[in-house]
Each structure stands twice: as C-alpha cells, then as structure tokens.
Amino acid sequence: MIVSYPGFILIGLLSLSLVGCSASSSVTEELGCKQSALQADPNPGAAASPVSGSNVMALTVNGSQCLSMSDPNSAVGPNSPCASVTVCPPGATSASDSNCQVISGLLVDTGSIGLRVFRSVIQANDTTNGTALFSHLTPVTYRGSTVAECVTYGDGSADWGPVANATVFMGGEAGVATPIQLIDAYYGGSGTNGWSICNSLAGGSSSNVVLDRCPTNIPASAPVSGTGLGYNGILGLGLYPNDSIYGYYYSCAGTSLSSSSGCGSAVSSITLSASQKTLQNPVSLLTDGNNNGLVLELPSVGNIGVSSANGYVVFGVSNQPNNTPTSVTTFPVDSNNSDNGFLQALVTLNGQNLPAFIDSGSTFYNIPLGSSTSGFVDCGGFHDDNSNGWSGFFCPTGDSNTFGSLTFSFLGFSGSHSLSVSLTLGNPMYFYNPLSANVFSDIASVESLAGSLSGSVDLGLPFYLGRNIYHGIYGSSSSLSSGPYWAF
C-alpha cells in the first residue's frame, strides 16, 4: 500500500490503480524487489547537456538503463544510477562477437571496484539470441583451482561468487580483459564452505546475509532470503585500479563456475596478484589515455525530484575535449592503503573535521547528525512511532514542508584545497513519492555510527545531481593532479 504521510504532496496523477503495490512505509523497503508495478504520471525527467564520443557511456538514474519499475521481480529503488555494458567471453575483439551479452541495469558505483554480475542474469544457453555467455566464461584459477570472492558491505550484507575471465565493453570503448565476479550465493553449496564463509565474514549474523538479485531468484530451499537489490550487478568504477584493497579471495576445490560443483569443501583464503587476478577497475584498463579516470555528469533535479535523470560517464580526465573541465577545484584523496581512512577526503562541518567520501552507489547523503548539523533533527522525532519510515533521516527543525541548508567546507585529504558546499535538505515525508519521482537531491540519512564510533560524511548519489565530478584513479595522473582525487 501507499502510505499517505501527513501533508503528503502527490505530484502527478495516478493513471492506474495501485492494487498490490508494495511501496511501503519504509524507504529502505523501497529498495527491495516490488511485487507489482507502480504506474503513475511522473514528474518530467531531467537530462545533462549532451556529450558524445567513443569515450562516453550512457548513465540514467532510474531511467532506461535501469531495470524496469514494472518488472515485478526487480524494480529498482530511488536514486539508482544505472548503465549497460557488454560482457563477452575472454579474448573477444568486438562487442558483437558471438556469445556476448548486454548486461543492463548495472549500478554505477564510484564507491567500489570491478564488475559484478548476478549469475542468475547471465545466459547459460539462450537459443533465442544464440548466446551462451556463461559456458564461454573461464574461471580465474589459483594453483589450478577456481577462485571465489567475498565482499562485505557496511550494512552487514555481502556478496559471494566465483571470479571469471571476461572481456568487457563500455560505451564506445574497445574491450578490456578483466576478471569479473559472478555473484552466486550458492557457489559451493551450503554447509561449512562457500557462501557460509562469506556469511560469517559479513559479520551480520549466522545466516541470511549473502546477496542475490531478487528473492524470487532464490530457490525455496536456499538459506538466503529477501535480499533483492533491483540491479543485475554492480559496475564499480572507483578511485583504485583493482579491488585487492577490500575483497576476500578464496581458492575452491573445483574447476568450474557451476554453482553446484565449482567450489568444493576445501576453501582457503588466498592472496592473489592484485594487478592480474583480482577484479580490475575497467576504466584503468582503457587505452588511448582514457585510463586515468572518469567524469560523471548528471543534471540538477530540483527540490521535489524527478522521475529519472539522464547523464553520462565520460572516460578519461583532461585528455580529450569532452572530459576537460573549464574550472574545478581538485581535492586529493587519502592514498595510504595501509590505514583505515583509505580513499577518503575531509570536510569541516561547523568547525568539526570529519572524513568524507563521494559515492554514487550510496542512495542518499549519509551524515552524522549532531551539534555540527544545527538546524536539522531526526525525522523520527516528529511522530509517536516510526511507522512513517523516516526515522533515521534528516529533517529541518520543525515539522513543516520547508528546506534547510547544510553548509560545510570540502577539503582535500592534504593541502590547502577548500570549497564551501551547501546542501539543500528537506523533510522527505512531504515530497517523497515513488509514484511521481525517483531521483532526489535533498534527502539525507543519519550516519548511525556517529554516536560512539567515528562516522564519515557520505556524499552519495544526490551529490552528483547538478555537478560534473571528476575522478582520478590511484596511480594515474592528469593535468588536474595525480590520483586519487576528486574534482568539481
């Protein structure tokens, strides 16, 4: 059902009845798989200024590159930046080679590294299209055995699955040969190996934390449930050339990518060649100078949001006319991968220094709420209970349909770079309505670690709306700076 919040502003007219819609009282639940289609006349979309070139990849936030809202099994949540790539068997020289498969609905994530595709969306034997990508992918091996990876996320979830050799085509670029992860919660089966190892590493609980694309993809007998993401995978394009900095790799007693037989009982932790066998940032592998970073360009969306926003990922920084900024401030990022603040910058908020990072894969801003964020309170304080679902989000002081400003100085990790940034944040219960808009620039959730553990300022997808943000990859350089850096 749709919860009508007090004072809820319904933008647009509903064109179909909403029987069975699972749009729920909690925004977090919106991010799961919906059980029926949402249909409404949406707010108009927004689009960035056109960019063209072989180094350009289309990017849509809740637009044509995302899984359809009308797909009952995979509707994507708000603020989802999506793109499509073509995945081919290793050695392919063209995206139109046989057995290549276009994978759409990938989350474009500047906060992680490497391409991860749910095993369930890779065609095993598609007679209609004549493609059978899965059977033409080859496992990355370690001393003759298959390799699997576990990646842990901050919320206590994790993904698990084998690592395969593939050739990946992005935009109009030539293909890059890179290991990719096939997210497969059942690789190795149950018991004391495979996903169960990843399950415990996630730290969340003894069960039910390994991700899959959607609950309906999960066998009824499987010990995993309710973890749908609304994506076909994750395209990690962050500031590092590979994911050796955070991925857990394992060798399995097995030789295939098959869920049932690829990862036997002997699973051991291994350290792989970071530059060869771990997941690579596909941008780092591009040729003709586009391997030093990227620009992410998305339009502004206003205070009440838009149905979708169209933009671009432009590969390379300052090596071509379409990726050369006219005026930006460049912020160095912590490049010491032996400390805990890796790939972070710094903001000053009311005199308090906090670590900060920019991450397109974060749905909203996520900011510590406290003395340094005067003018805002937790939305949950306005209601007797939390049934409205907005507990844990920023609301301007006073229960009203107003917007407040949160101003801070964005600093580089080192040096004298500083830029005053002002975020406009509103009370989402007055404007959040997934029937009319899915892209919002003015929603912030509360960083829950800030009470007794140091919290970071997460400048998520909203920060990209209306900004062209330049990303410089560790180990490379451009006329702006040596990577890693952000510039905007």
Binding site: G154, S269, L343, G451
Partner: protein, 169 residues
C-alpha cells in the same frame, strides 16, 4: 601533514602514554569471558589469525582496563579487558568487515536475534552504510564503506566505572 589520523592511529596515540607494560601471548577471550576463557573460540580465531602473515599482537593497559590487539584477515581487532578480568568490549577497524560474532561469546544468540529484527525493519540493501543494534545486554554497531569498515560491541553492564562506549574503538 595528514589532517586526520585513522581510528587505529588515534587509539595508538591515545594509549601511547598510558602503556604500563607490553607483552604478547595473551590468550584470546570473548565478551563476558575471562582472559583465559573459551578455548574453542581461541582455537577458532587462532586459525583465522594464522592465515594472515602480517599478524601482530599488542597489549596496552589503561587505568580501568587493558587492551589486547590481534589482526584477523588484515583487520586489527581489539579486546577490552577490565581490571577484574572480564572482556567488556571489542572493536575493529580496517578495510573490510571481520567475523566478529564468535567474539560475542554467550551474547551471540541474543545479538543474532536482534540483528534479524533490525534487518526486518531495515532490509539489506546496498545503500545502508551501518547498523546500530541494541538488545537487552549487548550493543553492537558496525558499518563503513569499501576500504574503510569499523565496528564495536560491548556489554554495558560489564563496563568499568567511568568507561563509555566511545572508548571502545
């Protein structure tokens, strides 16, 4: 000059002047247990530690407690031991999450029930960056992002006088 130090660095700086002695080889313990408690857990984590060639151990002492540190899969894990010999808190910070549930000892089942309830209310998805989970006897908080994960768990009723949650980091 670095403008900010990591949590680990801050901890080291904070405790540097308070170290009364430094020795290695302290037995592993878990929440609510003593320093020599639960051989099974010790063996379990010893196996984890053995996989990491860069492991290190350090022991630090505070007026109200001492701290053991070990490295599990590259992530420093600290255990807070009261002067009366009870582990009241654990904390970790590193580039990925760690398997901390074995360190919760007898509070593990209680925590996992609370985690499931928390997850039911805030379902798993890629956007949530952290969780703060309370149950009757134990508080667990963890979260972060790629390359920077942290968390801690503590039992308020076991904390020595004057020690607060933010000390456990």
């Amino acid at each position: 000059m670095k403008l900010v130090t990591s949590p680990l660095q801050r901890l080291v700086l904070y405790l540097a002047g308070l170290i009364l002695n430094l020795h290695s080889g302290l037995a592993h313990a878990h929440l609510g247990g003593g320093i020599d408690s639960i051989e099974a857990d010790r063996k379990f984590l010893k196996g984890e530690i053995a996989q990491n060639s860069a492991q290190k151990k350090a022991a630090m002492t505070h007026a109200q407690y001492s701290v053991q540190e070990m490295v599990v899969d590259g992530v420093p894990v600290r255990e807070y031991l009261s002067n009366s010999g009870v582990v009241f808190g654990i904390a970790w910070a590193g580039r990925h999450q760690v398997n901390f549930t074995p360190l919760l000892g007898s509070y593990r089942a209680e925590y996992e029930t609370a985690f499931q309830a928390h997850r039911a209310r805030y379902p798993l998805h890629h956007g949530l960056k952290s969780r703060s989970i309370s149950s009757g006897n134990i508080q667990v908080e963890f979260g972060g992002h790629m390359g920077s994960m942290r968390g801690h768990a503590y039992v308020p009723s076991l904390m020595p006088p004057g020690v607060i949650a933010s000390d456990i980091k």
